[in-house]
Structures are given as C-alpha cells and as structure tokens.
C-alpha cells in the first residue's frame, strides 16, 4: 500500500469516528425532540428509535393543561431584566477595570475573580433571609437582581477583554476633540466593542433564562415560578406524561440555544481564554 493511500484511509477512519461521536453526543437532543412529536404512544418497548409520525399535540396539551404560558412570561421577565441589569453595570465596571490602574481597581479585580468561585449552596442560606428582610423575596425582579450578581463577574471579565483590545489612543483623540472621558467612552469605545456588548447581553440573558437554584430558593408562590422550577416540579408526579414533558423541555431549551448559536463564536473564544488566563 502506498503511503498516500494509507494516509487517506486513516483520514477516512478519523472522519467516520468523529461523525459517530458527534451522533452519540447529539442523541439526547434527538430523543428529546422525537419524544415530543411522536404520534404513537411513547410508552412502548422497545422504543421507536425513528418516530412513527409527527404531531404537535403534546405542545398544545401542555400549554392548555399547565401554567407553561405564565412561567414562560415569568422566565422572560427574569432573563430580560438580568440581561439589562448585567449589561449596564458590566459596561461601566469593565471600562473602569480596563482603563484605570489604581489600588481600587486591582482590589476589585481580585474580588471579582474570587467571587466567581464562592459556593452558591452556602450563599443562598443567608440570602433567603436577607431577601425576606429587604422585600425582594418571591419577586421576579428580586430574582433577576440575584441572577445579575452571580453572572456579573464573568460578564465584567469578558467585556474587559474586549475593551482591552481597543487602543487608548482612540479615546484620547476623542478627548482632544472635546469629549469628556466618559463621553469618549460612550460615543467612541462602546460602538467599537459592539460584538462584546452582544455577547454580554446574550450570555446574561441565557444565564437568567436557565437559572434554577436561586429561583427554587427565592421564589415561593406557583404563579411566580419560572420554567426551570415549573418543569422540574412535574417529575414527582405519578402520572407523568414524558411526551408533554419533552415538549416543555424543547420550549425551554430553544430560546437558550438560539441565543447561544448567535454569539457562540465570540462567547467560545472569550470563555475559554478567560478560564485559562484568569
């Protein structure tokens, strides 16, 4: 066998292996979707690996029989507010950390890095009481504020990375032209870091959308539940219809996936760099 031929066989082997692995990794998604649209009963053995038909009935049923609509709206409020709060706060903080090298900013850098590693399980115990004392308990805005605090360190860190790449000379030029320092930042630097802004908006939206643990602890009444809490509450039920459950899971997962796909290129680069460079 010639070396070239051997090499092309080897390449083919690796390619097929890659496809098989990708298929296995993707399978749980496939199964979620198939289970939600299967026309036959999904309670069969052996299971139908290929659906015997296509129907959206589970989707209609779950909207009719459960509070999904309400929870969807609540989740949207929480995710939207988290995104809004985090972006506004992170923009200013990241700019300060990127452009000022003082004791305050270096102390802050350390605090931000460390606060990313604190155990949420210990935090929520006193937070549960603090939120009741300051009137944020069982409120969607309160939940969004808590989510914001948890995502801010990462948001600030990502955005700082984007600001660091923009040369200081650009805003100095704007300041010579008569802008104040903040004015130069908002009018010149911010538009230049649009991809960074999009990443932070999307990332904080996703984290507010997905969040379960704080929502489980800080929200009491069922009409204030978000999707993550509502969906897991079905699991304890005796007559659990997995087809409807998977329909609800698809509804919950799609917006997060959509946001992720839009920004994945920037997010992936920023996150993996952030984790290694710290």
């Amino acid at each position: 066998m010639t070396p070239a031929r051997k090499k092309s066989i080897l390449n083919g082997f690796w390619f097929v292996l890659t496809l098989v692995c990708a298929a296995i990794v993707f399978f749980p998604y496939y199964w979620m979707f198939v289970s939600s649209v299967e026309t036959d009963s999904i309670f069969t053995w052996p299971p139908h690996l290929i659906p015997s038909g296509f129907s959206l009935e589970s989707y209609w049923t779950i909207f009719e029989e459960r509070d999904i609509g309400r929870w969807l709206l609540n989740t949207l409020i929480v995710a939207g507010s988290t995104s809004l709060f985090s972006t506004i706060i992170a923009i200013n903080a990241a700019y300060a950390l990127s452009r000022f090298k003082t004791t305050t900013t270096s102390v802050f850098t350390v605090i931000i890095l460390f606060s990313q590693l604190l155990p949420a399980a210990l935090i929520v115990v006193p937070l549960f009481v603090i939120f009741q004392q300051i009137g944020l308990y069982n409120s969607l805005v309160g939940l969004a504020i808590a989510d914001t605090a948890f995502i801010l360190p990462l948001a600030i860190w990502l955005l700082k990375g984007f600001f660091d790449q923009i040369p200081v000379e650009i805003e100095q030029q704007a300041m010579i032209d008569g802008c104040s320092q903040l004015g130069a930042f908002y009018r010149v630097i911010l538009p230049l870091s649009l991809p960074g802004l999009v990443v932070v908006v999307a990332m904080s939206f996703i984290s507010g959308w997905d969040e379960f643990f704080l929502a489980r602890t800080l929200i009491a009444s069922q009409d204030q539940w978000v999707l993550s809490v509502g969906l897991t509450s079905f699991r304890g039920e005796y007559t659990l219809d997995w087809s409807q459950m998977m329909a609800a899971a698809v509804i919950f997962a799609l917006p997060a996936l959509a946001f992720f796909l839009v920004v994945q290129r920037y997010l992936v680069a920023g996150l993996s760099a952030g984790a290694v460079k710290g």
Binding site: A93, L117, L122, V125, Q181, A256, F260
Partner: protein
C-alpha cells in the same frame, strides 16, 4: 503632597460593589458566622452562640462523612470523564476536515442547553420501564435488563457522572483545543523525522505541550464539581439514601429540608474552606503560567 483621588473609577464600580457585597459577600460572611450559632429557620434572629459545637457534631455525623466521600468520588469520577471526553473530542477536532465548524457546534451544544433540560432528558432516557437509554445499554450488552438508575443507591451516582460529563465536556474540549493549537507543528514534524508513531507523538509532544493548560483546567473542573448544585439537586435531590449528596447538596438540604440553618452553615463553611484551598492553587497556577509566557 497628597495625590488627587480620581473618583471616576469609583463611581463606575459602585453598582457592582453594592451588588456583590449584598448578594455574594455579605451572605458568605453571614454564612460563616452562622456556623457558630444554633440557628434554625424559625428562630433565625434568636439563635444562640454555641462556639464550635456545630463542627464537633459535624465531625461525628456519619452523614457528613458520607457526603465528604460522595463529593470526592463524584468529583474524581466526573472530572476524569469530563476531561477524557474533552481531550478525545479536542484531538478529533484538531484535524482538518470538511464541515469542521458544524461538527464543533454539535460538540458544544450540550453545554448550551439549560442544566434542567439536560436533567429531564436523562431522567426520561433512564426511565426504568420505557427509557431508551436502558434499551440501548441492554442492546450493546452493558446491562442485562433495564435498571431503575435513579432509585438504586449504587446506580444513581454513575448516572449523575455520565450526565455531568455529557453536559460539561465542551468546556474542557474548547480549552484543550485552544491549548492544542499553541503546540508548534514543527515539534510534530521533528518527531516524525525521528520515526515516532502516532502514540509516541501523543505522549512526547501533545501531552507535554498541554501541561500548563491541563493543570488549570483540571483544577477548574474540580472547583466546579464541588460547587455544583443545580444538576445534582434537580436530578436526585441527593438521594436515593443520600448516595448522591455532595457537600453542596447536604448544605442545602440541611438548611431547607431539615431547617437547621446553623448546622447547614457549618457544612457550607467546610465546603468553603475546601474551595478556598483549591482556588488558591488554581490562581497560583494561572499566575505562574502567565509569567512563563
């Protein structure tokens, strides 16, 4: 001469300072303080100072030792599986082929869905009666008959590790992929000249090239596994028979199921100390690798 204070950064950082102080730092301080009190949910403001009594009780509590053991086993198993999948897929993706971007997106997807959705899909796939996971595992011969994965204490933890590895490997894969791309192609060429086969090149070029990335990544994965609550709590709540109750879950259950806030705070404080020890090593390795560059 006094230096003029620049107020601008302080104004810009003010909102973050307030938020982090109220929602992360003050609760942590209070959490540590509560571990010296016999506070319960009902007497929250009237708990009595009892010194180290919570910790004394803790070290004699079999559930605490069980939880420490579960944390270690879950941590080790999930880090090893996550890392192995991450490295394997990073190596597969670090080759040139058509549709690489698309395949990479597929490999990242598990990371992009809400943890709760991942939990629900796995719970359905592992359903004892109709779960497709049971069906496939029986078909390829891993198990003889369908198992009730989540209600048997020796099977729940392995199921949780598989779920964790599936959801978390993309982070490891992306970091390792970035690490692989820093290894110069010349080193592989030189090894090939010396007649090194694929395995020798992997051991003598790839692995040493990933060393600093490896240390940081593995520490990060360990830290994440100790802090993880959503996935474990949503999947098993620490059960059955406390077989998946890591320190994080034990902290939460002690406070909110058994309402023993002071005792829960003591468990959480032990967790915090373990995390601090690991994060110091983590930051130290990051600083060292940054200096080396």
């Amino acid at each position: 001469m006094t230096q003029r204070i620049n107020w601008l950064p302080i104004w810009l950082l003010g909102p973050v300072a307030i938020l982090l102080a109220v929602i992360l730092i003050w609760p942590i301080v209070q959490g540590v303080a509560l571990s010296f009190f016999n506070t319960r949910i009902l007497n929250y403001s009237a708990g009595k100072f009892i010194g180290l009594a919570n910790f004394n009780a803790l070290f004699q509590d079999e559930y605490f030792w069980n939880s420490l053991r579960v944390t270690a086993i879950y941590g080790a198993a999930s880090v090893i599986c996550t890392y192995a999948l991450g490295l394997g897929f990073a190596l597969l993706l670090n080759r040139d082929f058509k549709g690489r971007g698309f395949i990479r997106t597929i490999f990242i997807l598990p990371w992009a869905i809400p943890e709760v959705v991942a939990v629900l899909i796995f719970a359905w796939m592992l359903d004892p009666q109709f779960g497709v996971g049971n069906y496939l595992l029986v078909m390829i011969g891993v198990i003889e008959q369908p198992q009730a994965w989540l209600s048997q204490s020796h099977l729940a933890l392995p199921a949780l590790v598989v779920l964790t590895a599936w959801q978390q490997f993309p982070l490891a894969m992306l970091i390792l992929l970035a690490g692989l791309q820093t290894i110069p192609e010349e080193q592989y060429e030189a090894a090939r000249m010396d007649g090194a086969g694929a395995w020798t090149r992997f051991v003598h070029v790839t692995l040493p090239g990933l060393r600093s990335v490896n240390v940081i990544l593995i520490l990060l994965l360990i830290l994440n596994s100790f802090r993880r609550v959503t996935m474990i709590y949503a999947m098993t709540r620490g059960g059955p028979a406390r077989s998946t109750e890591t320190l994080s879950v034990l902290t939460y259950n002690t406070a909110f199921e058994y309402q023993r806030v002071g005792y829960a705070a003591a468990v959480g404080t032990v967790l915090l100390l373990i995390l601090l020890a690991f994060s110091l090593v983590y930051f130290w390795s990051i600083m060292r690798s940054n200096q080396a560059k």
